[in-house]
């Protein structure tokens, strides 16, 4: 029936990722200290402005899973005592640090220099603290932890932001002391400005997905995640989103969808099933289903940045991120996305090894489903561990979701 019609421009994100890792290795070869970042993606502009190469460990684990290089690291981690239920990003990443020379040939994309220091946050997920501690012990390097308070109420936002800004100042002292470099505040403002431009371009592209058929799927946005994970604040991120926007505009003018024969418009809650990225996108498209929106996929750097106040811009984006909000906020947010993007059904990916994002998913699913009168299903899988994935189960659930949508349409007709 349907088939995928991926955005060509989204592949710029993959290229940016490959370039990013090459630059990282080059930086290490030049003798620059290397920073590993766990969870605290939003702080990367402060490290970039110092001229220090960094690795966002979560993205690297996802990258390896998407390229099917995660199995051996997961096995090695398990052999070293990590339980199978531990976050698969942690297991993949720590497993890589423990690979033997022989195993390294099975993980071609793990060519990451060892860390000289680590930055972590405890916002949204407690796993980062334990994972960070493991990295600290393994490499005997200094670590800085950012505490991000959970945003229970919007009225607490200013207080939470100022609290995080105070810690960012402390982090800057840590960075300067550790690297023996002085922060380049002008460069930081330029990075924030570039980030703002990327945000504007991304938002314009997202708006275009309201069209029927939608010119992009979340799988296109996922392919372009290099713009967020590795290139944020660099000209490449603006270029990626600008190119995507342009290609989407052309598609909208031609009424061309990212799924040929778009029949169903879906929303996706939760992270991507990285090892099944390609097959899942094809599976959905073959049934005419286009996943047009996702709180997760569009959730990074959610608040427009202000180049005149870089630290506050970073703090806002740590405090405001969707996973740092209470359930009511998340329900409203997902429901709004579903309404705005004219969604027929909701897929919730319940990640086996990420308790942080799954705890309230059933409530969220029920609330959104009831409020908008749209069917919703769970897919039980994982971000990185494909042993938790059952194709037959996922097939049945996805097909059942589409059958429920059909039944609802018949009822209305």
């Amino acid at each position: 029936m349907g088939q995928t019609n991926p955005l060509r421009s989204a592949r710029l994100g993959s290229r940016a990722t490959d370039q990013f890792y090459e630059d990282l290795r080059q930086g290490a070869r030049e003798g620059k200290p290397v920073c590993w970042i766990l969870g605290a993606l939003i702080t990367t502009p402060m490290v970039t402005s110092l001229g220090i190469p960094w690795v966002f460990a979560d993205a690297l684990a996802a990258h390896l899973a998407a390229r099917h290089q995660q199995k051996r690291p997961e096995e090695v981690a398990e052999e070293k005592g990590y339980l199978r239920e531990t976050c698969s990003y942690t297991r993949i990443h720590m497993g890589c640090t423990l690979l033997s020379e022989e195993d390294r040939s099975k993980v071609l994309d793990w060519q990451v220099p060892n860390p000289d220091f680590v930055i972590i946050t405890d916002g949204c997920c407690s796993e980062w603290v334990e994972w960070g501690d493991d990295v600290r012990k393994r490499f005997k390097v200094p670590i800085f932890t950012l505490h991000v308070p959970f945003l229970w109420n919007d009225k607490d936002r200013d207080e939470a932001t100022n609290y995080v800004v105070g810690q960012l100042k402390e982090m800057n002292t840590f960075l300067e002391d550790t690297t023996r470099r002085k922060q380049d505040w002008i460069k930081l403002a330029e990075i924030i400005n570039m980030g703002r431009q990327a945000q504007d371009m991304r938002a314009a592209g997202q708006q275009l997905c309201r069209n029927i058929p939608a010119p992009a799927t979340i799988f296109d946005w996922a392919t372009a995640l290099g713009a967020v994970f590795n290139s944020w604040g660099k000209p490449q991120s603006v270029e990626i989103y600008k190119s995507m926007k342009q290609e989407m505009e052309e598609r909208v003018a031609r009424k061309e969808g990212a799924v040929v024969g778009e029949k169903y418009r879906l929303a996706w809650d939760g992270m991507i099933v990285w090892p099944e990225f390609g097959p899942l996108s094809k599976k959905l498209a073959s049934r005419g289903a286009n996943v047009v929106t996702s709180a997760y996929m569009w959730g990074f750097f959610p608040t427009l940045m202000d180049p005149t106040d870089p630290l506050k811009s970073i703090a806002w984006n740590m405090v405001d991120v969707w996973a740092n909000r209470n359930l009511d906020w998340q329900i409203n947010h997902v429901a709004q996305l579903c309404e705005d993007y004219k969604v027929d059904g909701l897929i919730c990916h319940a990640h086996y090894t990420c308790r942080a994002l799954c705890g309230q998913q059933l409530e969220l699913m029920d609330a959104v489903s009831r409020r908008l009168d749209i069917p919703a299903i769970f897919i039980e899988a994982d971000v990185g561990d494909e042993s938790f994935y059952s194709e037959a189960q996922v097939d049945t659930r996805l097909q059942a979701l589409l059958e429920m949508i059909d039944a609802k349409r018949k009822r209305r007709a």
Binding site: P375, F378, E380, F388, Q393, T396, A400, E403, M404, R411
Partner: protein, 257 residues
Amino acid sequence: MKAVAGVDIGSLTAKTVLLDLQGQLLSYSIVAAGMVNRKAARKCLTQAIRKARLRTSDIGSIVSTGYGRSLVKFGDRNITEISCHARGAHWLMPHVRMVIDIGGQDSKVISVDSEGRVANFAMNDKCAAGTGRFLEVMSQALAVDLAAMGTLSLTSTNPAQVSSLCTVFAESEIISLAARGCPTVDIVAGLHEAIGRRVVSMVKGVGIHPPVMMSGGVAKNQGVVKVLSQLLKTDILVPPEPQIVGALGAAIFALEE
């Protein structure tokens, strides 16, 4: 064309239901498939056709369902067992609003609307804990006839505490119980309670909507039905042949084609 067919290829058995063009049941067939396979699907259909004294050419539309639904190449369309169990249950008992289906390798709770359409559903994860296969393994471990487990457990007055539904853990748990002298009837009753607790958590996820029907092979186990009835505080309706509800639903969809 004199009839339509619904073919349900489950993980352990294949089922076929034939309906005439007025929607009346002509025949059904259940074949132990061992594993999901095409041969069993064909064999099951042939048996049902023979029972109905029809020829293959008399069969119009065929809808397949179950885990092996896409293997049925002679089918015109495939539909999930979730939609088919809902439709089949509605055909048998139109007032039913919830179906609990425990088959060979999975269990489902389906909320059904007044037209027999799926309103919501929940499934177990990919582990076969608490399903027909689980009971098969336990019956072997306890050296008890699978078909007798249900009635056997009804005689228990003190069900054992079985905490795990993982087939491997539960097997070692019941071996320990047996070694401690726990009567077999109590162990079987404990297993049924463990299955019941798991299903109840799925029911609560969907929200209970009586009247409740149970379908699938495990519905033939009176012990599980009783436990579910007690835990859900409602009667559980069981059709005369609960294994064919999915195939029946598929046949009804075929009739609508």
